[in-house]
């Protein structure tokens, strides 16, 4: 790990950390090109695990870990990876990170592992992770690739947390499995928010709000 970081810093040393592109990359990934709200990628897991805030947070953490790790490794190997097998190599790297995280959950966070079920393993096929490796890490030095992975992971995790928060709040009247003093007594939980349709409603509204704040697409301004 230490070796790779030194290597990374040497790569972008001339113009400081990440060639001065760090912040722009972070903003691009987490906000302007948010993988869930703007690109609408990887929504399968986002719809499936967001019925509770805790699940959403763990899933977000998993994606950040996998995205940062796989972007780093793919970027480090980008110059020696044969072009023809680059995608299968990416999948192998991503799968390794995902399974390590899954094993970790199974060992130390058993209850969560049971609740997330197959969805942790399915991060392997999440288009965000693969997309970032293919579109960014293959062309960029390691440090800035890690920032890009972090940005996209954060963007995903933030949207998941928002959806998870409202689905748990409206679906069970609780937050993180705990009752809220006045609200929980007064509010009648709406089962719909826990079920699959609730996820579609919540995601649709979040995408709508994101686009409303972000304004029209740049193409329309030209």
């Amino acid at each position: 790990m230490a070796d790779s970081q030194q290597l990374a810093c040497a790569t972008c040393a001339p113009k400081g950390l990440c060639n001065g592109k760090g912040l722009a990359t972070l903003k691009e990934g987490a906000w302007a090109n948010n993988p869930l709200a703007i690109q609408v990628l990887g929504i399968c897991s986002a719809l499936a695990v967001t019925n509770r805030l805790e699940n959403s947070l763990v899933m977000g953490a998993a994606l950040i870990f996998v995205c940062v790790g796989s972007n780093l490794i793919v970027s480090l190997l980008r110059k020696c990876t044969p072009h023809r097998i680059r995608m299968i190599a990416e999948v192998a790297i991503i799968a390794t990170f995902v399974i390590v995280f899954d094993q970790f959950l199974k060992a130390f966070y058993w209850d969560m592992s049971k609740q997330l079920g197959p969805y942790v393993g399915l991060i392997i096929t999440n288009c965000i992770v693969m997309g970032r490796a293919e579109a960014f890490a293959l062309q960029n030095p390691p440090m800035v690739s890690m920032v890009d992975g972090l940005a996209n992971g954060l963007g995903y995790a933030a949207v998941l947390a928002i959806i998870g928060f409202f689905r748990e709040l409206l679906g069970t009247g609780e937050i993180l499995g705990r009752t809220i003093p006045v609200f929980s007594e007064w509010y009648t939980p709406n089962q719909l928010m826990i079920l699959a349709p609730g996820a579609f409603f919540a995601l649709g509204i979040v995408i709508g709000i994101f686009n409303l704040i972000k304004g029209p697409e740049p193409e329309e301004n030209k």
Binding site: I99, Q103, K106, F108
Partner: protein, 203 residues
């Protein structure tokens, strides 16, 4: 352009490194996973036997209760878990046994607990299943499992067996199946009947 030999070499090295890392991760977490699986099994035995448990009992508590009041007995190849708490003076309050069989997607395993008369069902749990969520996966819900409580493992004609089928004529050994999960219910019925047969033949 790099040659085929290089591509093969690269794939072999990358594959080996990934495999090594995964092996390391799996063997490092193995003892923790084993402990989790044991605690999960213990919890399900206790839940099937309807042993009173504290609401937020930890894995260690569960194992302690299991050790204190549940005894394992081998009866002709079938492992029976008899529940006789220390304060019951050696009396058996319930008996549980494991059942398993193929599900729709993956094996289903669980525990079936009977009252001391060995005819009436006391409780049932499923601790391993990968049925379709929302359809077959509903077997783990309490409404489905609670139906079994108090049912007989013998039909009115005295033949052993339980029936899981659509609502209709009521019987002492019949529970309602889950709509949209006929295959899961058929398989659960088959594995329960196999377990019941082994108990009845053992008697």
């Amino acid at each position: 352009m790099k040659g085929n030999a290089y591509t093969l070499f690269y794939a072999a090295v990358l594959g080996s490194v990934c495999a090594l890392l995964l092996t390391a991760a799996a063997s490092f977490t193995a003892p923790y996973k084993k402990a989790n699986a044991e605690a999960e099994e213990a919890l399900n035995i206790l839940l099937a036997l309807k042993v009173p448990l504290a609401a937020e009992a930890s894995a260690a508590d569960v194992l302690k209760v299991l050790e204190a009041s549940v005894r394992e007995k081998d009866r002709g190849g079938v492992t029976m878990y008899t529940y006789s708490p220390p304060d019951a003076g050696g009396k058996t309050l319930a008996v549980a046994m494991r059942f398993s069989g193929p599900g729709v997607w993956a094996p289903i395993r669980g525990f079936l607990a009977l009252e001391p008369d060995m005819r009436t069902i006391r409780g049932i749990t499923f601790y391993e299943q990968e049925e379709t969520p929302g359809l077959g996966g509903e077997i783990v819900t309490s409404w489905f499992r609670e139906q079994f409580v108090g049912k007989s493992i013998m039909g009115p004609d005295g033949k052993p067996g339980i029936i899981v089928s659509k609502p209709g004529e009521q019987a002492a050994n019949k529970v309602d199946a889950i709509s949209g999960a006929t295959m899961t219910c058929d398989k659960v019925q088959a594995m329960l009947n196999e377990a019941i047969k082994s108990i009845v033949e053992e008697k």
